[in-house]
C-alpha cells in the first residue's frame, strides 16, 4: 500500500485537523446535543427508523398471536431468517468492542474519535440480535427458562449445550458493553451538565454524570478501570462469536461441523462491523461537519481493517471448500456442491462477489480516500455478510443427509418485516443516541491535541 507520509508526527496530525483547541472541540461536539435545532438529515433518518420500528412491533404482535409459523420455518429449515439475522447483527457489534478495547490496548490513538459511536453501534446491534433468538423461542414470554434458577419443575438448562453457552456469552457481552460505554461517557456527561443551558437537561446529565468532577484522584482510578475493562472486553469479544459459531460446529449437519468456524466467524464479524462503522461515520461526519475530527485517515484505517479481515474471510471460504473436498466425506462434499450449484447458488455467488471480489478494490488508495465510494463499498460488504450467514444456515439445513427430507426455504413477508423492523430499531436507537449523547468522546479527543502534552519544564 502506498504511504505518502511515513513520519509518525505526520500521522498524528492526520487524525485531527490543525487549529482545534480544548474549547473548540468541546463546543463542537457538545453543540450537536445541546442545540435546539435538529438537522433535517436527523429527522429523515429518525423517521425511517421509527417507521420501521412500528413495522417491527406489528410483526412481533402478529408473531405472538399466531406463532413462529408465520415465518417461512418448515422442516428441515427451522432456523431460517431468525438465526441468520442474529448472527449478522451480533457480528456487526464486534467492531465497536474491537475499536474501544483492542485498539485501546494496542495504543492506536486514532480510535479516540470513533470509539464512542462505534460502542453505541455495538449496544444497539446486540439489542437487535437479541430479538431473534427470543422471538424464535416460540413462547418468548418464557425466556427466563434459559437461565438457571431454582424452580418447581425440577429442571435446569443443559450446560453441555452450545445454545445455553450462547445465552451466557451474549448476555455477558451486552452487559459488559453497556458498562464500558457508560464508564466512557461519565466525563462527557459532566461536560454536558456543565454546559447545558436548560435546567431539565442540566438535571438529567447531572444525575447521569454521578457528580464527576475531573479530579486527578478520579482520573487515576479511571485510567486503571478503563484499561482493565479493555483487557476484559478483548477476550470477551473474541469469545462471543466463537460461541456463536459453536451453535453450528457442535451440530453434525454437513457444512456446519468443522473446526475452523470460530476464527472464520470472528473475522467475518469484524469485517461486517467495520463496514457498519463506515456506513454510519461517513454520512454523520458530512452532516455534522465533523471532518476535522473524523478525518480521511480514520476512514482509510477502517477500510484497511476491512480489507485485512475480508482477506481472512476469503481464505476461510477457500478452506471451507477445500476441507469439504479433502474430508472424503460424501455428505460434506455434497453440501458444498449444493451451495455452489444448487438452489442457493445465486446467493452463494453473490456473497463471493460482495465479500471477496469487490472488496479487492480497497487495495486502491483512490477508493479508500473517497468517502462516497467507501460508503457504497461498506454497504456491499454488509449485504455480502448477510448472504454469508444465510447460505451457511439455510443451505446446510435445506439439504442434509436424507434427500427425502430436503426442502427449500422460502422467506415470508413476516420474515422480511421482522428483519427490516430490527434495522428500524437500530436506526431509532442510534439516532436517539446521536441527539442525546455526544457521539464522539470529547475528553479522549482532547488528549489528541498537541497542547495536551505536558511540557518538558514541568517534568520532575
Amino acid at each position: 500500500m502506498p504511504e505518502n507520509s511515513p513520519a509518525v508526527e505526520e500521522r498524528s496530525r492526520d487524525i485531527i485537523a490543525p487549529g482545534y483547541t480544548f474549547g473548540s472541540i468541546t463546543d463542537q461536539i457538545a453543540a450537536v446535543v445541546l442545540t435546539k435545532r435538529t438537522p433535517l438529515f436527523w429527522m429523515a433518518c429518525f423517521s425511517v427508523g421509527f417507521g420501521l420500528l412500528l413495522l417491527f412491533l406489528w410483526a412481533v404482535a402478529t408473531l405472538l398471536a399466531e406463532g413462529v409459523g408465520i415465518w417461512g420455518l418448515r422442516t428441515p429449515v427451522m432456523w431460517g431468517f431468525a438465526i441468520t439475522n442474529f448472527v449478522w447483527w451480533i457480528g456487526i457489534g464486534h467492531a465497536g468492542t474491537l475499536i474501544s478495547a483492542i485498539l485501546l490496548l494496542l495504543n492506536q490513538r486514532w480510535r479516540n474519535s470513533i470509539n464512542r459511536f462505534a460502542e453505541a453501534m455495538t449496544l444497539f446491534a446486540v439489542a437487535c440480535a437479541g430479538m431473534f433468538p427470543l422471538l424464535h423461542l416460540g413462547r418468548p414470554w418464557l425466556f427466563y427458562w434459559l437461565m438457571p434458577y431454582p424452580n418447581s419443575m425440577g429442571v435446569q438448562p443443559n450446560f453441555r449445550s452450545p445454545l445455553v453457552w450462547d445465552v451466557f456469552a451474549v448476555s455477558t457481552y451486552a452487559t459488559v458493553s453497556l458498562l464500558f460505554w457508560f464508564v466512557g461517557l461519565l466525563p462527557d456527561l459532566a461536560t454536558l451538565r456543565d454546559r447545558a443551558g436548560n435546567r431539565l437537561a442540566r438535571l438529567a446529565y447531572g444525575i447521569l454524570a454521578l457528580g464527576w468532577r475531573g479530579s486527578a484522584r478520579h482520573w487515576s482510578v479511571y485510567e486503571t478501570a478503563t484499561l482493565l475493562l479493555a483487557g476484559l472486553a478483548t477476550p470477551l469479544v473474541l469469545s462471543v462469536h466463537t460461541v456463536v459459531s459453536f451453535d453450528f460446529t457442535i451440530a453434525i449437519v454437513p457444512g456446519w461441523h468443522s473446526t475452523f468456524f470460530p476464527p472464520y466467524f470472528v473475522a467475518g464479524a469484524i469485517y461486517s462491523g467495520f463496514a457498519m462503522v463506515l456506513a454510519l461515520a461517513i454520512p454523520l461526519r458530512a452532516v455534522y461537519g465533523l471532518e476535522g475530527l473524523i478525518t480521511d485517515r480514520h476512514l482509510e484505517n477502517a477500510a484497511k481493517v476491512m480489507l485485512a479481515t475480508g482477506l481472512i474471510v476469503a481464505y476461510a471460504y477457500v478452506i471451507e471448500a477445500f476441507s469439504a473436498w479433502y474430508s472424503g466425506d460424501v455428505y460434506e462434499q455434497a453440501a458444498m456442491w449444493h451451495r455452489m450449484t444448487g438452489p442457493y447458488a445465486p446467493v452463494y455467488w453473490s456473497l463471493v462477489a460482495c465479500n471477496i471480489i469487490l472488496p479487492q478494490g480497497l487495495w486502491f488508495q483512490r477508493i479508500r480516500r473517497s468517502p462516497v465510494t467507501l460508503f457504497i463499498w461498506s454497504i456491499i460488504v454488509l449485504v455480502g455478510m448477510w448472504f454469508e450467514r444465510y447460505v451457511i444456515i439455510v443451505s446446510s439445513l435445506a439439504q442434509d443427509y436424507l434427500p427425502s427430507s430436503w426442502s427449500i426455504f422460502h422467506a415470508t413477508r413476516w420474515d422480511w418485516a421482522t428483519y427490516l423492523g430490527t434495522i428500524g430499531l437500530f436506526l431509532f436507537l442510534f439516532f436517539l443516541f446521536i441527539r442525546l449523547l455526544p457521539m464522539i468522546s470529547i475528553f479522549e479527543v482532547r488528549t489528541l491535541l498537541p497542547q495536551a502534552k505536558v511540557g518538558k519544564e514541568a517534568e520532575g
Binding site: L179, G214, A216, A233, L236, A452
Partner: protein
C-alpha cells in the same frame, strides 16, 4: 473570616502549568490538594503521587468469584441437582463448563471494575464543595484547576493564597464549604 472555606482554587491555562503548580505545592509541603482537569494527565498523577490504587485487586477478586461461581453452578446442576446419564459419560464433564465459567469470570470482573471505580472515587456524589468555585464549570471544558484544601495543616488563607499567586495562575478564588 466568618465562614469556614473548603479551600483555595487556582485556575491555569494549560496542563503544563497545572503539573508545574502541583509539583510546587507538593514540594512546599502541602498534602491535602487535588487537581481538576478536562482529561487524564499522566504526569499529574505522578506529581500528586497517585500511582497506586486497589482497583486491580478488586477486579481480580471479582473475576475469581465469577469463575468459581460459574463453575460450581454448573457442577452442582449437572452432577447433583439434575444428573443426566448419557451413554455412561461422566457427569462432571468439565470441558463443557469452560465457556460459561469464562463468561461469568468476565461478567463479574467487569462488574467489580465499574463498582470498584465508583467506590474508590466516592461516586455518585451529587454535591461537592469544589462546584462552588465560580469558574469551575470550565474544568470539564478547557481549564485546569488546583485546589489546596483548608484541612491541610499548612493551610493559612493569606499565605496559601500568596503562594498560589506565585505559580502564575489566571486567578485564585476561595471555595465556599
Amino acid at each position: 473570616m466568618t465562614q469556614p472555606i473548603y479551600g483555595l482554587m487556582a485556575e491555569f491555562d494549560s496542563p503544563t502549568a497545572l503539573v508545574r503548580a502541583a509539583r510546587a505545592a507538593r514540594e512546599k509541603g502541602y498534602r491535602k490538594l487535588d487537581a481538576y482537569s478536562p482529561f487524564p494527565i499522566e504526569d499529574l498523577s505522578d506529581a500528586l503521587h497517585l500511582h497506586k490504587n486497589r482497583l486491580p485487586l478488586i477486579v481480580l477478586a471479582g473475576g475469581i468469584m465469577g469463575l468459581l461461581g460459574g463453575y460450581l453452578l454448573q457442577y452442582y446442576v449437572t452432577v447433583w441437582q439434575f444428573p443426566i446419564n448419557i451413554g455412561g459419560r461422566p457427569l462432571h464433564s468439565w470441558p463443557s463448563y469452560i465457556v460459561i465459567a469464562f463468561e461469568m469470570t468476565i461478567l463479574c470482573a467487569a462488574g467489580s471494575a465499574v463498582l470498584g471505580l465508583l467506590a474508590l472515587c466516592g461516586l455518585p456524589m451529587p454535591y461537592h464543595p469544589v462546584f462552588n468555585a465560580p469558574r469551575f464549570a470550565l474544568a470539564s471544558r478547557n481549564r485546569f484547576f488546583l485546589c489546596i484544601e483548608a484541612s491541610d495543616p499548612l493551610f493559612e488563607s493569606g499565605a496559601t493564597s500568596d503562594f498560589l499567586q506565585t505559580l502564575d495562575p489566571r486567578e485564585v478564588t476561595e471555595v465556599a464549604q
